[in-house]
Symmetry: C2
Subunit: 570 residues, 2 copies
């Protein structure tokens, strides 16, 4: 939009396109609520006032207007839908900008995965900014679908939607000055670099911050958050599906440090997006817990815009983007209208149809398994004891134990009666034929098998089951649908969630995915699991950075040693 037109409309020489009048406008600059109106032309707010001349006027009768919410850190893939469907879920909840880190899809498809997300974000009803993933692959202990080194990443620096380097999970690599890691930090030293430093403290934290890393979303206690704020990090308070930190961290916020706090969702599953919402859910909860409502809204809007240097949004002021939400009050915070760039994009919980429609870029089948080499049998060779990963309900840490092996025909096999199940990770990116085999306790299946192509961070196929045949059936069923989740019993697929986009995301509407997931979970329950989220537990068994024992396509990993250990303990 031309500056001269902005000026003309702002002066009232020419009518605005739209005036939202008689509103209570949350002013994140002054910290006040003003009874006034908001005049909008094209994509921009051009002025505040109830009597701007306008082509169209909407009387809000005292409803509130605030800037659209910004999610400062989210992995869209965790919602199992691509950006358009994610937008359909979160925009009605008031989110008008998201800063994504396409870490999951990059682990499957490398650079192609990042490009897919950039392309699939165009013409969606929100703004998608990208922090390029810094840690792909996440570790050297597994095989993934793409290796991103600094030359792969800097080519994205000129993309107008790329604003920095995503969470530097490899904090040991930073502290030990891994050359790869330093190269990436150097390549982005003049951009924002997000952090990920759970429990890192003292001098290690000083070093991590000195390296140029500016935020952290892994705080779980007030002490941890306070130390990070003191050292100059922006603390992103996370309220994810699998990690809720808001209540624990709220006491850290003071009038003087509130500007250094952001809200993020990190990972949200379809059911939570549908049932709870998105950033609005965090703001609402923060207010209910006693945070000043205007501070809560500053955190969800202006703070994120400032952290990322997105000076065109995060506030309602002349010249800024008209990314706005209309809501009833601070208590219920029911979002009734959402404007993005001056256009009404959602009303009463639903996204409105738009032109042009979002792109659905083509993407290749990510399943590349060398079936001829896949053998999930485990010859006992005289061993009698196996190491087992132990699930801890509702946590992603695992325990480890040594168990008596059940040996049948010379092979170590599952023993459902003792809840000792075989797990396999089948490499699916580079057709290496790698198969990792281990055991798990706590999954609870009495019959059949469950499997997933979502398995953090490398997203190989992970299958757990009571017998090898059902495990192979599950693996083949997942591959046949180009990725997804299945529950299998006696050679039959009981339920499935196809995730043909990189084996991570569905091509179906979010609500359909949620139904499929509910059916799938029910199937796992019918097979005997009493876990709240058996597939999440399964997916995280492959994550070799969280203690204690994990399984990758290359074998069993003792996370404390950060090295492989044999499955047999004797």
């Amino acid at each position: 939009m031309e500056i001269s037109q902005l000026i003309r409309v702002a002066r009232g020489e020419e009518p605005a396109e739209l005036l939202l009048k008689n509103a209570r406008v949350v002013n994140v600059f002054s910290g006040e609520v003003e009874e006034t109106g908001v005049a909008i032309t094209h994509t921009r707010v051009i002025g505040l006032g109830n009597d701007y001349p306008a082509q169209r006027t909407l009387d809000l009768n005292g409803k509130y207007i605030a800037p659209g919410f910004i999610d400062a850190h989210v992995h869209v893939e965790s919602a199992m839908v691509p950006p358009y469907e994610f937008a359909r879920a979160v925009v009605p909840h008031g989110t008008t900008s998201v800063i994504i880190d396409p870490h999951e899809i990059a682990n499957v498809l490398g650079v192609e995965g990042i490009e897919y997300m950039l392309e699939a974000s165009k013409y969606t009803p929100f703004s998608v900014y990208v922090m390029v993933p810094s840690c792909v692959p996440a570790t050297h202990l597994e095989t993934n679908g793409g290796v991103l080194r600094w030359p792969d990443l800097i080519r994205f620096k000129n993309d107008p939607w790329v604003i920095g380097l995503g969470e530097m999970m490899n904090y040991p690599g930073v502290l030990l000055r891994d050359q790869e890691v330093l190269d990436k930090l150097r390549a982005f030293f003049n951009r924002r670099i997000d952090g990920h430093a759970p429990g890192v403290t003292g001098r290690d934290l000083e070093a991590y911050v000195a390296a140029g890393i500016a935020s952290d979303h892994e705080c779980t206690s007030v002490e941890e958050a306070r130390e990070k704020i003191r050292l100059g990090m922006y603390v992103m308070i996370r309220e994810a599906s699998n990690a809720q930190n808001l209540k624990a961290l709220l006491p850290v916020i003071t009038a003087k440090n509130a500007r250094r706090v952001l809200f993020v969702t990190d990972d949200r599953f379809p059911s939570d997006l549908i049932d709870q919402g998105h950033i609005d859910y965090i703001v609402r909860m923060a207010i209910h817990e006693g945070l000043d409502p205007i501070t809560a809204i500053q955190i969800a809007t202006l703070n994120a815009a400032e952290y990322f240097g997105l000076h065109d949004r995060g506030a309602i002021a002349p010249g800024r983007r008209a990314d706005l939400i209309v809501f009833d009050n601070f208590d219920r915070l029911t979002i009734e209208q959402v404007y993005r760039g001056g256009q009404l994009v959602a009303r009463n919980g639903r996204v409105l149809p738009q032109e042009p429609t979002p792109r659905q870029p083509a993407i290749r089948n990510s399943m590349n398994v060398r079936w001829s080499k896949i053998d999930v049998r485990l010859p006992a060779n005289g061993h009698k004891q196996v190491r087992a990963m132990g699930l801890v309900p509702d946590q992603i840490v695992t325990t480890q134990s040594v168990e008596e092996a059940r040996v049948k025909n010379g092979y170590a096999v599952s023993d459902p009666e003792r809840d000792l199940l075989k797990v396999t990770v089948i490499e699916r990116h580079q057709a290496t034929g790698n198969v990792g085999i281990g055991f798990v306790r706590g999954l609870g299946l009495k019959s059949g098998a469950i499997g997933s192509s979502v398995a953090h961070d490398s997203h190989n196929l992970i299958i757990a089951g009571t017998n090898d045949d059902d495990m192979i059936t599950a693996a083949r069923a997942i591959a046949a649908m180009q990725g997804g989740l299945v529950a299998v019993n006696k050679g039959e697929v009981l339920a499935r969630v196809p995730l043909p986009i990189a084996g991570l995301m569905s091509d179906q509407p979010l609500e359909r995915v949620r139904e499929q997931l509910d059916d799938l979970t029910q199937a796992a329950r019918d097979l005997g699991s009493d876990l709240h989220a058996p597939f999440m537990a399964l997916a995280f068994l492959a994550l070799p950075v969280i203690p204690e024992l994990r399984l990758t396509d290359r074998g069993l990993v003792d996370v404390n040693k950060f090295d492989f250990v044999p499955v047999f303990a004797d």
Copy 2:
């Protein structure tokens, strides 16, 4: 400095160069004062703590450490010394970064003036960032030394020390969409653009903000500042030599909006720099007036760094520049040590010698007067009445009146007995031979003449006197010293302040300039003026943007009409 070294030192694997221990560290992120130490290596803070291994340790015995102050808007030329001498004055007061707008020298030397300031700022003991002047010449009613259009300005955008576009004084040009002005705003739309909008309010202010202008330093009332903050402007609270706004504006600051406030000095004369100080003076006064000390320091440090996107400073944290001040307490705020980039640059009020020494770039003589055409006589041609500018003590506005002319030998001349003095503005840049002639009341000279090559904004020669001969003597004396200020009586120069750098700045130490100015003021007093600052009053007589009547080289300007009026009123 290499990231890997920062990490090593931050972890304590290698000693820091310097540890300032047992201090009270003002943490502008958390809003707390921490009893701790600051470890420094090369240019950077690498950690906080009292027990960092270090090559050298300095026990501060409980003294305070804060980030170095940032002056967010200052015209160095007003101190009548170039950047090095300015640094010598302000660095001992804790200022480690200044954002300058070389508006004055650019009016004399155009692009060459900006380049001089960039060059003369190198190797000084503070960091100098430049906002390129947006309004050169200031008006079409005068002749200056250079015209800066957008192509002249954008060539500076790649200079690492240039961070934006300086104060857009031409707010009527913005509102009326002057093509030149819009071109400049467009050229810098993705950088910071400072504002200057005294009294602009309502829709005009909305339009000014919509045009992308992000700050204002001209607020004089709480209402004005509040409106500007609400609209998203950063309000720069100014405490200049000729405009003091701090006390009036302090009540605008609240816990929720304090992040949108900055401190600036705009214009400070040598005596005020020496007697009062710089940003420390504002911080001290703010604290004495009741502002929370940590908020005052946040405003003077972090806020300015954030506004300008200078993320390497404005706070004490690992990886940030070690720009630090050590002081006694919040009450006296006596700055005892100043570190810039980890080096001690000032102690107990004095700058320490440095290597390399600052540059003293060559600069051409800016005096270019066509003496053959200079004639300050004013033929009366039968007229009997003249318009006169009226000085208002300690203000820069003038009144206007019509006075009986004193006519001698057919020429209108000064009448010291009625305090009606002739004033002339002699064009000195382009040898046009332009001479503007008018009259002033309130200067009070009984004999002789005073003159100056500092005359805002075009800085032509301005001379006021009791007789034509002394006026010409004054003009020639100024030109002979390549610019400066003089007091003349009966053909003899009584006192002078040579300003050979663009006719604006001395090549002498600041203290010497101050003595010269004191002597000069005394000389003007001896000649009969009882004004507090007769040369400042004189300098502003040429500023055709402040009501009511002014004089340029092209004639008398009625500022309310923004056009010329004849000197004779009948």
